[in-house]
Amino acid sequence: MKKLLVSPAPHLHGKESTRGLMRDVIIALSPSLLVSIYFFGFSAIKLALVGIISCVVVEYVIQRYVIKSTKTINDYSAALTGLLLALNLPPNSPWWLILIGSIVAIGVAKMTFGGLGQNLFNPALVGRVFLLVSFPVIMTDWTIPVSWFREGIDASSGATALSIVKEGLAKGLNMDQIFQANDFSYMEMLFSKIGGSVGEVSALALIAGFVYLLIRRVIKPHIPLSIIGSVIVITGIFWLVDPQQYADPIFSVLTGGILIGSIFMATDYVTSPMSKQGMILYGVGIGFLTIMIRYFGSYPEGISFAILIMNACVPLINKFMLPKRFGKEVKNG
């Protein structure tokens, strides 16, 4: 007689898998990658390849020889970390920089905690911040390399918009003067040159990735929207108080990695809260800290640090921001 399969209910299972989700995030990053290849040419391809390969290799080596656990290199999570790290570096970075970043990201930030799902901090961000602190000169050299497609254009812009603003303010200029001197244009920021790391050249490409992730239900909109919303509100208040000292909200959102950070970094499953209320609190916290670092700290950007600080708060948020329970507040009418 045929042996029947017996298992506890439910007997149907969704089609989603860890691998599929990670693949979706990589697909969502591809518009940004393509745009950056268009602008930066070979150096973008080189960074992405070195990042992905080194992350996967580091993860494999650690799982194989150090902790001797089951292999998770097939689920694209290490590849995703590598790609994210690459997209968060200056286009001119040497290959060994991202290799070091990968070792820190996977080796220190991910595997020491026990691998996929166990880490407290976003690995790619830890890698980036490690590099930012250790190699500040390379990490803030935003010289645009010569591309295959667009030779020599904009080779002069050596700093991001935010650091130009910060330096300008330090020199005693006001906003209008800075804007005039540098010819900032929102349209350009939206489509092409935000000026900054590889992945944030085009805001539109990042937003396209965001829409894809939402349609595929990979992420929920709570975290990105609450970060962007809180940045707009807080910078808006400062801007209304003194428009000559503080940049306007739209400029603040489009520059300094807010988009890539809020869409791809802050929404990392492992290091973000579980409940919707928690996600909103987390997002607002990131937005607030980012602006505080920008206006009162020494770094012109700050979202990386803000996300890492809020990562550390996630266990606390999970403990106190519980989802709405059914039948807790009985509304009988």
Binding site: V6, P10, H11, H13, S17, L21, G117, V270
Partner: protein
């Protein structure tokens, strides 16, 4: 606009492939194996012995205890034994085995097709009749209906809700009942309304059954204006008792509470039909509508099946177990029980026999939790399955209670949605049972 519940839920493919197949009578069996534990509560006590001759509809076992139900013979013939036999999960249960000989019914059962609309009995008489006919809830839990229709002292029912959501994928037995006997279910609803002494009833149907909604609306609008047909969004677990009450009335049943705490009694469509047949036609509950379906089968069927038919016989009737079917499920794919023995027999609350292939049902390999929070989103009770799973594995009973594991309705949304194939519900179900036991053992305040 269709109504729905507020939290969680999933949207599995509904696969109602047997919806078009009309109900046929299942052929008479050779031997019926009638279980004495077809309901929640104490097993019934057999009142027949080996050698007795029984007719269809004759009482063969009496309710024993407060929560229990009468059991009637589904066939006519000779009792060949009363013995312990395994049920579908292999547990030994007292069975009355009847060798079938002809099809002789009790004389007092009205077998005509005529629809009797006039309700002659009073409320208490109806409840007594329902208890006598051994009717149990046919939505899955098989709770004796007469007890559900008698609210405890101090509690008063305001609404009766008839659950026609059939939110489980594949199942179509309730749909066929609604399409083929709409008038009868509405009369059954009226009968239960009289028993409960309520003025209003709602009839919730998921909006993937437009034909049933239209038909019921037409008949109810003409003859039974006090029964409102409510279309509900297609979303699992819409047919969960607590979810349905919230969707229709906006009230949330409190934790560890019963629907009657918010003034509602919920009954299933199949139960309404059984109540109609019992009260108006004097027919005890000994058969039910059963969907036999599966993508691996060439033909999808809906049967009127007598209680005590073995799964072997059912498979034989549809032409044998298909080659690629590996799992047999009694009930729906989300909450049904997997059958481990083909020689086990159907019971009153058997509503479907679903055949799944390995590709459809096999679980994936468990991997690390990536804390994606999909289970938190899917949970219709607002729980945190990922956390409950972790706490269960660490045996942290107090924390489990604090995180309301006892509110879990075991709908399976968390396990369905988990991308890492973590057996969330398996561990939660275990700890839920432990926690409920501890809560019940505490002295009441």
């Amino acid at each position: 606009m269709s109504k729905t519940f507020s939290l969680g839920g999933i949207h599995p493919h509904d696969n109602k492939i047997s919806a078009a197949a009309s109900i046929e009578n299942f052929p008479l069996v050779d031997t019926a194996y009638i279980s004495m534990s077809q309901h929640l509560g104490a097993p019934a006590e057999p009142v027949v012995a080996k050698g007795d001759i029984v007719k269809v509809g004759q009482l063969i076992a009496k309710s024993s205890g407060f929560i229990s139900a009468n059991i009637h013979s589904s066939v006519s013939g000779v009792v060949s034994s009363v013995e312990l036999l395994p049920d579908l999960s292999g547990t030994m249960v007292q069975h009355v085995v009847i060798k079938v000989d002809g099809d002789v019914w009790m004389e007092n059962i009205d077998r005509s097709e005529e629809i009797v609309g006039e309700i002659k009995l009073s409320g208490p008489e109806i409840i007594a009749k329902i208890a006598e006919c051994g009717i149990v809830g046919l939505g899955g839990a098989a709770f004796p209906t007469n007890i559900k229709l008698s609210p405890p002292p101090g509690k008063k029912a305001e609404y009766l809700i008839i659950n026609g959501a059939e939110c489980e994928p594949y199942l179509t037995s309730d749909y066929r009942i609604m399409v083929e006997s709409p008038e009868q279910i509405l009369i059954g609803t009226k009968i239960m309304m009289r028993a409960l002494n309520v003025k209003n009833a709602y009839f919730g149907v998921e909006d993937n059954k437009p034909k049933a909604i239209k038909l019921l609306k037409k008949i109810a609008g003409k003859n039974y204006p006090e029964i409102k047909i409510v279309p509900l969004t297609k979303r699992y677990p819409q047919g969960g008792e607590k979810q349905m009450i919230e969707a229709i009335t906006g009230r949330q049943v409190p934790s560890m509470g019963l629907p009657i705490d918010v003034g509602v009694v919920v009954q299933n469509v199949g139960t309404a039909l059984a109540v109609y047949e019992a009260v108006q036609k004097n027919k005890p509950l000994f058969d039910g509508i059963v969907t036999i379906t599966g993508n691996c089968m060439t033909e999808q069927r809906n049967f009127r099946l007598r209680v005590g038919t073995t799964f072997d016989t059912m498979m034989y009737a549809i032409g044998g177990l298909p080659k690629d079917a590996v799992k047999l499920i009694s009930g729906g794919p989300m909450m049904g029980k997997a059958v481990c023995r083909m020689d086990a027999a159907s019971v009153k609350s058997t509503s479907a026999l679903l055949l799944l292939t390995e590709a459809e049902t096999k679980r994936g390999v468990e991997s690390n939790c990536i804390r994606c929070a999909k289970c938190v989103d899917a949970c219709p009770m607002g729980l945190e399955p990922y956390l409950l799973n972790r706490l269960s594995r660490a045996d942290r009973i107090e924390d489990l209670e604090e995180h309301m594991v006892h509110d879990c309705i075991e709908c399976g949304c968390c396990l369905y949605t988990c991308p890492s194939n973590i057996p969330l519900l398996d561990t939660i179900r275990l700890s839920k049972a432990q926690v409920i036991k501890i809560i019940r053992s505490r002295p009441k305040k």
